[in-house]
């Protein structure tokens, strides 16, 4: 069952990589959040119930509800243009993502051990790498944030595989990250949106040698 969810997670990565519209990406974030919720629900058996509840609510709330909603609001508020303009074409990005997934699979083979399930590692690392890939390959800051959130999802996935061992660590880390991200991303997004006409990274290169 968890494997199925993980597979869906991976597929969503593909979809995000090729999708040309912003809201699709955001909706996919919701999907990923739900997947994570399911995975958490199914995999974290051994920890005590409160802890589990915390994790579950946290995942559901932040990953699946608050973040996407917040980003949507931001997009509407700042009149960010809705279509994505990557440096590279959809096909090649698809290719890249699949390469990254293979790479993370190979990495997983090397890395797996008692706690680290291969599938988890693969999914997690492909999430992380895809996030990075989005950040590197997209111009818009909003896309960077989405990429970052995908990266975070990957980390969460990775942490679930260890969740049985040290759940609090996971939560603490994730929670702090999410908080910071919401807080400051929003803050700076608005600032930048105020300062520059559209949220394009090319305008942010005054500081260079």
């Amino acid at each position: 069952m968890t494997n199925l969810l993980t597979i869906i997670f991976l597929i969503s990565l593909f979809y995000i990589a090729v999708s040309g519209r912003l809201f699709v990406c955001i909706n996919l974030l919701i999907v990923q959040g739900l997947m994570l919720f399911g995975i958490a629900f199914l995999s974290l058996r051994e920890i005590n119930i409160i802890n589990l509840l915390v994790v579950l609510t946290e995942t559901l709330l932040f990953k699946a509800i608050i973040l996407p909603y917040y980003i949507k609001k931001m997009v509407i508020k700042n009149k960010i243009k809705r279509q994505v303009s990557p440096f590279i074409s959809g096909f090649s990005s698809l290719l890249t993502v699949s390469i990254l997934i293979i790479l993370s699979f190979v990495l997983g083979i090397y890395l797996q051990n008692a706690q680290l399930k291969l599938i988890y590692i693969t999914a997690a690392f492909s999430g992380i790498m895809t996030g990075l890939f989005l950040i590197v390959s997209r111009k818009e800051i909003i896309q960077h944030i989405i990429g970052y959130i995908i990266l975070e999802n990957g980390i969460v996935l990775l942490s679930f595989s260890l969740g049985n061992k040290t759940p609090m660590a996971v939560n603490a880390g994730i929670l702090l990250d999410i908080l910071i991200s919401i807080l400051l991303f929003g803050l700076f997004m608005n600032k930048i949106a105020k300062t520059y006409k559209d949220l394009d990274i090319d305008q942010l290169n005054k500081l260079s040698d």
Partner: protein, 477 residues
């Protein structure tokens, strides 16, 4: 217990300055903070037991760097007020500035002390928060850009190190949140089950923390942050914050120092260090902005330090001492830059000149700071560099040493050329006619730091030597 009190006190002060926006109130708060910081530091040295909490542990390393931090914090606060008064800063901004400054200090102290890996990571993340506020202080486009970049990139970097920590967590079969501590991992020797897992986690951690330590690859945003932040803040970034990064990396390095990874680790550090040195040289030859120039020199020193860690031996000692002296000197340099900005109304080196004429005391100060930072006697960095070279040759890296020397010579040339352009030559006419004044008293804290650095360098007091040896003894043995 003590730590809790300290943190509560600092938080209180921060909230106080944030909400009470009166000049006197801020002065009082600042002085109170200095008192708190120094007392905390003092107690830390004399009564370790007060501070050994569950997640925190007082050891030689943390004592050293917290002492450095306390000294620089006082000077930083003084310089911040100088900076405010010359810019006629409004009290709202002053409030935010001071509040985040205090918080920053608190977080860094915590990071130095923290024994639990997760806590260390969380505090490092927290420093990012505070420092972003400080970088953004001047509220112009560049500030916004630099802040955005710094924040975004360092968040990503730190999340990478978080992955590393998770992997480490998986690799070592300790369980429970509080159990993943340096002391426990160091006390029962790590058995390397899956070496590759450890290696990957170490790589992730080091590369993630490179954003704080200011070495390749993530030094880039550090530079931007330096160049837009107010002088005192830049000073903090390239002294205490880099020390935080160093300490974190150093602690992780210690973990595997006596395992089968040690050789591999030293190679990794060597690569990173040399790359940083190279990048620093390249850009010091290129930049035309003196704050960036000095920032790159920090990168250079961090690169040297990384190389020092890699080669080990007597270099461990040298590295710590190097960091201490570098912190004091570099802080002094950055404090001076806020004077330059004020006088020359520009951060470009072409627009500067004749600072020595404008303020002789500051000029002499700059001259000496330059000598010290370049490791020319009577600078202590001379000896630390000597030791690093010595162990480089000892471990058979003569070829590498030659490359480094070439780079260092270029660095001297570039840095000297620009610094002397600022110090000497003619005062630009535009500056000349508005008759800038610099009072002698502004330089006093910097003189204090300079003399401190010189003294420590020329004749390190015995207790310092002992404590440094204590800090590195785990690696030596």
């Amino acid at each position: 217990m003590g730590l809790l009190i300290y943190i509560i006190a600092v938080f209180g002060l921060a909230t106080f300055v944030f909400f009470v926006r009166k000049q006197t109130a801020q002065y009082i708060a600042a002085s109170v903070f200095c008192v708190v910081q120094l007392t905390f530091n003092y107690l830390l040295i004399v009564r370790k037991d007060l501070f050994n909490e569950i997640f925190f542990r007082v050891d030689a390393l943390s004592i050293i760097f917290i002492s450095v931090l306390s000294i620089t914090s006082v000077t930083t606060i003084i310089n911040s007020f100088v900076y405010f008064n010359h810019r006629r800063e409004n009290y709202f901004r002053r409030g935010i500035y001071l509040a985040s400054l205090f918080m920053l200090f608190a977080c860094m102290c915590g990071a130095f002390l923290s024994d639990n890996i997760n806590i260390l990571w969380i505090l490092a993340e927290a420093t990012t928060l505070c420092i972003s506020m400080l970088i953004y202080h001047e509220r112009n486009e560049e500030a916004l850009e630099a802040t955005w970049k710094y924040f975004f990139v360092s968040t990503i970097g730190l999340s990478f190190s978080f992955i590393g920590i998770l992997l480490l967590n998986a690799a070592t079969n300790v369980s429970g949140f509080s159990s993943l501590t340096f002391s426990s991992l160091m006390s029962e020797k790590i058995l390397i089950t899956n070496q590759f897992l450890f290696q990957v986690s170490f790589l992730l951690i080091v590369i993630g923390f490179s954003v704080k330590m200011g070495v390749f690859p993530l030094h880039t945003v550090c530079i931007d942050a330096h160049s837009v932040a107010p002088g005192p803040v830049s000073a903090i970034i390239s002294t205490s914050l880099m020390n935080v990064g160093f300490v974190s990396v150093f602690r992780f390095y210690q973990l595997f120092a006596h395992t089968s990874l040690s050789n591999w680790m030293s190679h990794v550090m060597l690569i990173i260090g040399v790359l940083s040195l190279l990048v620093a040289t390249v850009y010091m030859l290129k930049v035309d902005n003196y704050k960036r120039l000095i920032a790159y020199s920090s990168i250079e020193h961090m690169g040297l330090i990384t190389i020092g860690i890699a080669v080990g031996g007597i270099a461990y000692f040298a590295v710590i001492l190097h960091l201490i002296i570098h912190s004091f000197t570099k802080a002094g340099l950055f404090y001076q830059t806020s004077q330059f900005v004020r006088i020359f109304k520009s951060k470009h080196i072409e627009d500067t000149g004749g600072y020595f004429k404008i303020s002789p005391s500051g000029g002499i100060l700059m001259l000496f700071l330059f000598l010290v930072i370049m490791g020319i006697p009577p600078s202590g960095l001379f000896f630390t560099k000597l030791m690093i070279f010595q162990s480089l040759i000892n471990s058979g890296y003569l070829w590498l040493l030659i490359i480094m020397l070439v780079l260092l010579v270029f660095i001297l040339w570039a840095f000297g050329k620009n610094i002397f352009h600022i110090l000497f030559l003619k005062v630009p006419p535009a500056v000349q006619e508005c008759k800038p004044k610099v009072s002698f008293w502004e330089n006093i804290p910097q003189y204090f730091l300079l003399i401190l650095g010189l003294f420590i360098g020329l004749n390190p007091p015995v207790f310092l030597v002992n404590i440094i040896n204590e800090a590195v003894q785990y690696l030596i043995k």
